[in-house]
Symmetry: C2
Subunit: 218 residues, 2 copies
């Protein structure tokens, strides 16, 4: 591509935008999406404020683009590898395991981007909050749907209420993120793994069948 | 008390300080402790900035005093009523029930003050973070100690690891706070109650005894 050509400039702009957003998502996970300022980003990236402003136009656009960047990272690190597993209990376990790994590896310096952004925006109405709420809801729904699938395929006990189980499993990963970030407590990860494993094996059909076998003994 | 006397002025200052902190804790639960500014408080309370500044001296002192005010509310609303119950499983259940009620009743406009403050400060080293971390750790420890007591008194199954169970139960209440604040999902409260009840009854000695009786059948 010829330097100075329209295509070259467009490609360069896209790269710069990606660089800005990578830093923005990382900073926002630790210091809050509200705390993102064009000045701060310009200083860290050694760019002019005007240069950064040109990519987004407003603080709100920058915030929304940052949330979308975090979504892409989550899709890449958590959702995509889980999709490699067969549907039902195995995919459910993979979704939780990869989510926990993404928190444990501190892909963002502030832990789970969405956990931080949810608490930051839950009382601040507006487009950023709506975006964060929609994305986190989609993830809870995805867990619930996988549980409903597992139930329909008789992989888990009949009595399970998918929304209830999704609530409990989702809680364990969020708790691990909280304990690790605030108390620097790495034991939170094995605890969350233990809680998830115990909960899922307590309702998996194999153990239910065992119970039924026991119940039918003389 | 004579108007203008030293005692009168001291009592009036204490009342004003309490008024400032009541508003500060409420605002901070929704908009963040970092977002607290003397200017904002002065505007809402129709006081001069100098008047407010005189009570705290610095922004950090104001933040620490706000966290301590939130602690007092938590003690009053959650800890004190739970202490009325006998130690062990009953007190553990009361601690969780009152905590959930305090979240559900939105004692602070932003939900659980400490859930909001933890996520806000987990990546911001300093005195405010240390204070929030110490208080939330004390609460997790209190849950764990109550479980350890219940175990020592044989109210719950022998195999229970108190720190593991405390992690799980604590997670359910934090999840309810998260779901309610972000998704305005009131069903999160019955879900958390169901999760807590199921978890505790699955390990209470009465059900264990039942299992043992079953196990000893011919």
């Amino acid at each position: 591509m010829r330097k100075g050509s329209i295509l070259y400039r467009a490609a360069k702009a896209a790269t710069t935008r990606q660089q800005i957003l990578a830093l923005a998502a990382d900073l926002a996970s630790a210091e809050g999406v509200e705390g993102l300022t064009i000045g701060r980003l310009a200083a860290e990236l050694r760019m002019s404020k005007t240069g950064i402003f040109a990519h987004f136009g407003s603080k709100e656009e920058l915030q929304i683009a940052t949330v979308n960047r975090a979504k892409e990272v989550f899709l890449e690190q958590v959702v995509k590898p889980a999709l490699a597993e067969p549907r039902g209990v195995r995919r459910l376990q993979a979704m939780l395991a990869h989510w926990l790994k993404y928190v444990e590896q501190s892909i963002f310096r502030g832990g789970c981007f969405f956990a931080a952004a949810s608490l930051e925006f839950d009382s601040r109405p507006g487009r950023v909050r709506d975006c964060v709420a929609a994305l986190t809801k989609a993830w809870v729904d995805a867990l619930r749907n996988e549980i409903a699938y597992a139930k329909a395929k008789k992989q888990i006990a009949r009595g399970i209420v998918p929304a209830q189980l999704a609530f409990e499993l989702h809680a364990f990963v969020q708790e691990a993120n909280w304990a690790y970030k605030l108390h620097e407590d790495r034991s939170a990860f094995p605890r969350a793994r233990r809680a998830i494993t115990d909960r899922i094996s307590s309702i998996s059909r194999s153990s239910e069948q065992k119970l039924e076998l026991k119940g039918s003994e003389p």
